[in-house]
């Protein structure tokens, strides 16, 4: 029980520091997710058009996924040094796969019949993409973004190893200084934040799925 009281006291005393760190953590994830969307969605659209490109790209992004995060961070330090930028790049590389794949899959699952009806009404290529394909694959794309974001939120705790901020710093510092109050406060905060984020995005996902539900 003692440790929880210590954690609570640490939390009360260092509230500002903790929330600031959590804020950094969050911003790192938000930026990573934005970049993932900006790159991943167009790439997903592009590869949905040709089978060959699809295999190559999904294969390539899949490789990043299989590299252990510490190995990837280590590699990035050797070419980019330490700091926030390599951390951001690592998160982007990890987040790409779910977004690229889901965008591609989402677009491919738009019913032929629906596209044909739109074509028959006279949509041009851009209108087909923006008025038919993207809205109809939005739920699937959104699910990919959700996966990328939640995953990045946990992965971002590793950013400490590359000299970037975030909740990893609180946890590592707690371990290194045998400050169990600090350690536990950091852990609880990161767990609560991850679960809340997952719930929030999950709720949005649910709304999206229902609004865009393809059930006739």
């Amino acid at each position: 029980m003692e440790v929880f009281i210590q954690a609570w006291n640490y939390f009360l005393n260092r509230r500002e520091f903790l929330f600031e760190t959590l804020g950094d953590h969050f911003m790192l994830v938000v930026w990573a997710t934005l970049i993932v969307i900006i790159i991943g969605v167009p790439v997903g659209i592009l590869i949905s058009r040709t089978d060959r490109l699809k295999e190559i790209v999904i294969g390539t992004v899949g490789v990043f996924y299989t590299i252990p995060i510490l190995a990837l961070l280590g590699f990035l330090i050797t070419i980019m040094g330490v700091g926030t930028r390599p951390a951001l790049l690592a998160l982007v590389l990890y987040g790409l796969l779910p977004v690229v794949r889901n965008t591609c899959v989402g677009i491919l699952q738009v019913p032929e019949m629906t596209k044909e009806a739109a074509l028959g009404m006279g949509v041009n290529n851009l209108q087909m993409l923006f008025k038919v394909e993207l809205p109809l694959s939005f739920p699937v794309i959104f699910a990919g973004i959700r996966t990328a974001m939640v995953m990045n939120f946990s992965l971002a705790t590793y950013a400490v190893f590359i000299g970037a901020g975030g909740m990893g710093r609180v946890i590592m510092q707690g371990i290194r200084t045998y400050n169990t109050g600090m350690l536990l406060a950091g852990i609880i905060l990161v767990v609560v934040a991850t679960v809340s984020l997952d719930r929030l995005v999950g709720y949005l996902d649910n709304r999206v799925q229902r609004k865009f539900s393809l059930v006739e």
Partner: protein, 367 residues
């Protein structure tokens, strides 16, 4: 009567790899005409239809829409000028009914106000309540969705409608209703319609002309009566034995009405010598020309007046929408040889007889 040609195919082929799925098809459709394409599954009906709006490009031959070769037109503009209705799930599930109806108007960036008014007008045209405009397609039944599909195709007021088995996915009762509504609508909008179906009765009912396809070729083309009387074995087999009565059920008695029978208004005088035209009876009408009964020539006295209460009162006149099949049934089961027919305003139009029905068969028979 000569009318402008709206759509014309000249020796059109469609070849996939080595398979020729449409083979030398030629036909032309007059403005305001309903042409039905029918044939076994896979015979090339859908392909033929989709080549008209170039969703599928043809391999050889010429396709003309309003006299212009479609390959010389911008395909997007061409499609916007032609209404297109497909079997189902053609509605965009993420758009409201209103947005679905206005899809083409929105593509062409018509003013918002015009779009709203058009949607309201069209939802009524296809017989749905206006508050459906705010709903999503999934909240509608199959038949209702199909009505929206028709409304959407009409939104930009295209002169040509392409319909690919539009009523294929709804139950038979709804299908009949939708067919009736389409025909009623067609009377006012007079579109040029190419309608694909695999249902022979539907073809008889809707088509001014029917084209029968087989293995990519157009093997027969004509009115329903012409097809029923065709000598071609495939055509006969395809439309089946019961077809004659199906066709007769789609033709109204107005086609076989005899109007030469003498009539007399109750209380008026009749000139026996000049007006009998070879008939032995005279029909009696009231002062508003509604049918009352008939009277034999013997019961007209020398002065041209009906003697006493000689008027034979039979049942009321039948409506002009009565089909020939129903008229024949009515005569057979009712033990009658003729039926009086009146318009909506109850004004007497003429009579239908066994002979006049039979006359239709021989007149349009042969090939």
């Amino acid at each position: 009567m000569t009318r402008e040609i709206s759509v014309e195919l000249r020796n059109v082929d469609k070849v996939y790899d080595t398979a020729k799925v449409v083979d030398g098809v030629s036909f032309s459709i007059k403005k305001g005409e309903v042409l039905v394409l029918i044939g076994p599954s896979g015979c090339g009906k859908t392909t033929t239809l989709k080549m008209i709006n170039q969703i599928i490009p043809h391999t050889a031959g010429n396709i003309l829409v309003n006299g212009e070769d479609v390959t010389k037109l911008d395909p997007v503009e061409l499609r916007r000028s032609i209404g297109y209705v497909i079997q189902y799930i053609g509605l965009l599930p993420h758009l409201t009914i209103e947005e679905n109806i206005n899809f083409v108007l929105q593509l062409t960036k018509r003013p918002k106000k015009e779009q709203q008014e058009r949607a309201l007008e069209l939802i009524e045209t296809v017989g749905l309540p206006a508050d459906y405009l705010k709903r999503f397609p999934r909240a509608l039944s199959g038949g209702q969705q199909q009505r929206v599909g028709v409304a959407r195709a009409l939104a930009a007021d295209p002169a040509i409608l392409l319909m690919d088995e539009p009523f294929g996915a709804v139950d038979p009762l709804t299908r009949e209703q939708l067919q009736n509504e389409l025909m009623r609508l067609q009377e006012t909008i007079k579109k040029t319609i190419v309608f694909v179906t695999h249902d022979m009765q539907e073809a008889f009912k809707i088509g001014d002309r029917i084209g029968i396809m087989k293995e990519g070729k157009l093997v027969a083309m004509g009115s329903s009566m012409e097809l029923v009387n065709s000598d071609d074995e495939f055509v006969r087999d395809f439309i089946g034995r019961g077809a004659l009565f199906d066709v007769l059920d789609t033709i109204s008695v107005t086609r076989v009405l005899r109007k030469d029978i003498p009539t007399i208004r109750e209380g008026e005088h009749f000139d026996k010598e000049s007006k009998m035209n070879g008939w032995d009876n005279i029909l009696v009408l009231d002062e508003r020309d509604a049918f009352l009964g008939y009277v034999s020539i013997e019961n007209i006295d020398a002065s041209g007046k009906i003697s006493g209460d000689a008027v034979q009162r039979v049942a009321d006149a039948f409506p002009a929408e009565l089909s020939i099949k129903k008229a024949i049934e009515e005569m057979l089961y009712g033990g009658r040889t003729w039926l009086p027919v009146a318009g909506d305003d109850r004004v007497f139009k003429g009579i239908v007889t066994f002979d006049s029905c039979a006359g239709l068969l021989s007149k349009e028979g042969g090939s």
